[in-house]
Amino acid sequence: MKRRDFLKQALAGTIGMGLATPASILGQFTLARSAMASSQASFTDHKALVCIYLGGGNDSLNMVIPTDATYSTYAKAKKSLAVAKSDLLPIVPLRSNTYAVGLNGTKVDGSPILTGMQNLFSKKGQLGIIANVGTLRQPTYKKDIGNLAALPPQLFSHSDQTAHWMRGSLDISQSSGWAGRMADMIADTASISMNFSINGTNLLQTGLTTPFVLGNNGVTDFTALQKGSLRQQTLDRLLHQAESMNNPLVAEYAKSAEKIQANVAFVKGVLDKAPTSGIAVPTDNPLATQLSYVAQLISQHQALGQNRQCFFVKLNGWDTHDNQIDEHPALLKQLDDALWYFYRRMIELKKLNSVATFTMSEFGRTLTANSDGTDHGWGGHHIVMGGAVNGGDIYGALPDLTLNGPNDFGDGRMIPTTSADQMNATLLRWFGLTDSQVKELFPNLANFNAYNLGFMNA
């Protein structure tokens, strides 16, 4: 058994014992925590992953769109929701990939959207596209779609597909996500998780620890509970008493409250010292606001004692069953503006090369339209941004957009040609995980030939 594992078990045992001898146990606790922290010394450089979750299922078939003869196949299926050919912003990948594509350049408020992404892809080489990614158990073809055992459970369901992307496995009994288990593996800081969410708790970042959660206003202090006050002393006693009660929910609440209070004081103290930025946060853009806190936490990684950080931000509203022609371009614009803002922030912090930003979304949407919207699909395109990205290229095969063609599950729900696990594993290899660690996190990778797609440079 590795030393760290031993300590982890010892620590777990300690918690289970209750509070027989508080002082001595507190001592063990501190010892165990600092020992866990020391294992992070294996990373001397700083790296961060930023997951942008597009909640509801992004119609990415309307984000990356064919510009050559294939456009007519696309337009025929997409009907009234097809983006006009004249509105496409061409991008030229380093290597040709099936057919030529451009980005959605629909005009919102008079200007084309996705110009930031176009710029980052073509001119800066800072952005790559991973084509037709989705949850998969194994390489899956049209002949397999009747075989339920070969498919991820509950295709097309928001909650289930979200969970599959986040778990990194298709074991629905597993209550942790790959970023959470990664934090367990590389045992991060003494006091707080390497995982931060600016949008509530989530499965992705849940392992033995849960993410530290910030709100739309950053970190909020406990204003009525001053350190050393009678209130705080009384509350501490109540929490300790609650932890040893035989109601498991009470004990859990007490444990969480205690941890949360300590974490908030620490992170608040660190962030109060974060440098101010000269770059304005785009207004009315919740995603950019969330990313502004990510930038602050990245700037303070040393004070936080973190050489590895993983962030989760989220924009809802992508479930465009209705009124897509209005809503989807507005969402894409928010994403584009937020990405461009964050890119500039990373330059400002001189962190461009050590931060990789990527999208995640439960599924793509149907290529076909239901009157004025699209329904739940499967595969979709994703983007990766950062200095370490081998940008300006498309990875994985663009799907054949022919309805009822080889990639169509039905109604233009694309059968993924690259698995979500492959994409995420590629990010984690760059992040510093070993082959065997990555295989452990994503057990179904064994069913695929390539588990490093090459879009990150070593």
């Binding site: 009907k79 008493q241 329904d375």
Partner: protein, 547 residues
């Protein structure tokens, strides 16, 4: 509408499993425990009347109490700005929840609004029609005491649900209109979330397993597609074929539409072909309503619906981890109320609230009170009396972006509600437990929650003297301040009303020490002492978890 209601009255008087509980007079603490499940929070005034008549009669009386309506026609034109309308709906909710006498109905409406979720959090359309949102909430309150199939149909045809999950304007596939396929959103969610769920269930709510130990899906994508076809042809009241066609090009087709009346069918847009849904044939040539009725009946009669809905209602009202036997008892009442009535919601609610497991004090689990309830329970316990005026007809208010406690009625982040019924922190999951409300327990929300509770309990009694912003009522401690010299009596009363008698000796000792410290070292006033003690109780885990 009248006839089924009469039937409910009949069914409500049926003798149920735990009728013996009525024989013995309940203690104050037992009454509080019951009221914390059945209302927005116990008050001293509620205790004696309930003791006198018993739980079953109290429920029957509540069912007969006139419904307190949230929808207020006079407010429709009052505000031009969208944010003001949202705030106004919120104020109505807080005021009604605090002051209405039909507490059981109001509480059930909240529970149902967290199952049949609609939300203006990410929907511009719903934000433009907050009056419709109020009416939707009333619909849940009304049909919450009818039969489940009536509730399901009322929800399905409400224009707010129609807009939220896109059944409104759902067209048949046709080469003429360029529509490849009907919209699948409502078809999917009405199964996954409102009736049968994703996997086949036993009557006790546990999943059925196949020979290999795997769960068994309840439906396929084919069923979703077929149900989407069945549910075509519905739109706003007042829209015909021509108007439907014209609305398609509009950016805000909802402007000026009727968000109160049930949706109507325009048969031209209904898919009249034959369908097969969950193994059952639906013949060609039926009207949109015939098709819908048949499909909803299939869902209503599905063996999953009783345990699926019963378990979630238990979780919303009583506890996170009901025993399979408790779920089975309630599900059996769902399927047969004793008079062969199927889906009798009053009988189901009664079965939930009067079950031995809901009443037992030796069961140390309960649930984390959701944020809204932590505030209403406090406001009702220390009754705040705010006068309605012509300028301010709904004086109770609690919200604002900077006071986010993670929950605002009808404003969940998505159709999956504020929390997932299967959510659990890791340590609880390892014990086989769920704790949905813990999804709202994080660094951000706990700080906000505790700060708001502190502001409510402490402000005005501290040196500042200022009332904080973000809520409208200050707690009334006047009946407690005379007890400060007998702190055990003070704690007895707070224990009964706030904690239904759950305060153990350790907690009591800690609070007594605090009172003593405040008196001897800080020479605090009686009002300040009560405020400090209440503050400690309401932010404690012992209080937050209600069992």
């Amino acid at each position: 509408m009248k006839a089924p209601f009469k039937k409910v009255m009949l069914a409500a008087s049926v003798c149920l499993a735990f009728s013996s509980a009525n024989a013995a007079v309940m203690t104050d603490a037992q009454v509080v425990r019951f009221l914390d499940h059945a209302t927005y929070g116990a008050t001293w005034d509620d205790i004696t009347p309930l003791k006198n008549i018993g739980m079953n009669a109290w429920i029957d009386k509540q069912v007969r109490t006139a419904q307190c309506s949230h929808y207020d026609e006079t407010t429709k034109e009052r505000f031009s700005k969208i944010g003001e309308q949202m705030m106004f709906r919120d104020k109505i909710w807080w005021t009604k929840s605090m002051t209405c006498n039909d507490q059981l109905r109001q509480r059930v409406a909240l529970a149902l609004s967290e199952i049949f979720v609609v939300s203006d959090a990410n929907s511009g359309t719903l934000r433009r029609h907050e009056d419709g949102m109020e009416h939707y909430y009333d619909t849940l309150g009304t049909y919450g005491f009818y039969y489940f199939n009536q509730l399901l149909k009322a929800v399905s045809l409400h224009p707010i649900m129609g807009s939220y999950l896109n059944m409104r304007g759902n067209e048949k596939a046709s080469a003429d209109n360029g529509n490849a396929r009907p919209d699948e959103n409502y078809a999917r969610e009405v199964m996954q979330l409102f009736t049968i769920g994703l996997v086949q269930l036993n009557m006790d709510g546990t999943p059925k397993l196949d020979a290999k130990g795997n769960t068994i899906p309840t439906y396929s994508q084919q069923d979703v597609s077929e149900l989407a076809r069945i549910l075509t042809g519905w739109t706003w009241h007042g829209i015909d074929k021509d108007k439907w066609e014209k609305l398609k090009g509009k950016i805000h087709p909802d402007a000026g539409q009727d968000f109160i009346s049930p949706m109507v069918a325009v048969e031209y847009y209904h898919d009249k072909g034959a369908k097969t849904f969950l193994g059952k044939k639906i013949p060609a040539g039926q009207t949109a309503e015939q098709d819908m009725d048949q499909a909803l009946t299939i869902l209503f009669n599905h063996p999953n619906t009783a345990p699926f809905i019963s378990k979630q209602l238990i979780q919303r009202l009583v506890k996170s981890n009901p025993s399979p036997a408790y779920v089975r008892r309630v599900a059996q009442v769902f399927n047969n109320d004793g008079n062969w009535g199927h889906g009798n919601m009053v009988a189901v609610i009664k079965a939930i609230l009067t079950d031995g497991e809901a009443l037992a004090e030796n069961d140390k689990q309960g649930k984390l009170a959701e944020p809204l309830l932590r505030v209403t329970q406090l406001w009702r316990a220390f009754p705040v009396h705010l006068e309605a005026t012509a300028d301010n007809p709904y004086p109770y208010y609690f919200n604002g972006v900077d006071t986010n406690i993670g929950q605002s009625p009808l404003s969940a982040p998505s159709v999956f509600n504020f929390f997932d019924p299967a959510y659990a922190p890791k340590d609880l999951k390892d014990q086989g437990l769920v704790a949905p409300e813990f999804q709202l327990l994080d660094e951000n929300l706990l700080a906000h929650m505790d700060n708001r509770l502190a502001a409510m309990a402490l402000m005005g009694y501290e040196d500042s003297g200022a009332d904080p912003s973000g809520f409208s009522g200050r707690l009334d401690y006047s009946s407690y301040t005379p007890l400060v010299d007998t702190p055990n009596l003070l704690l007895n009363r707070l224990d009964t009303l706030l904690m239904s008698g759950r305060m153990d000796a350790n907690m009591r000792g800690t609070l007594l020490d605090m009172v003593n410290d405040l008196k001897t070292k800080q020479h605090a006033t009686p009002a300040r002492i009560v405020a400090e003690v209440v503050h400690m109780i309401i932010i404690s885990p012992q209080y937050a978890i209600q069992w």
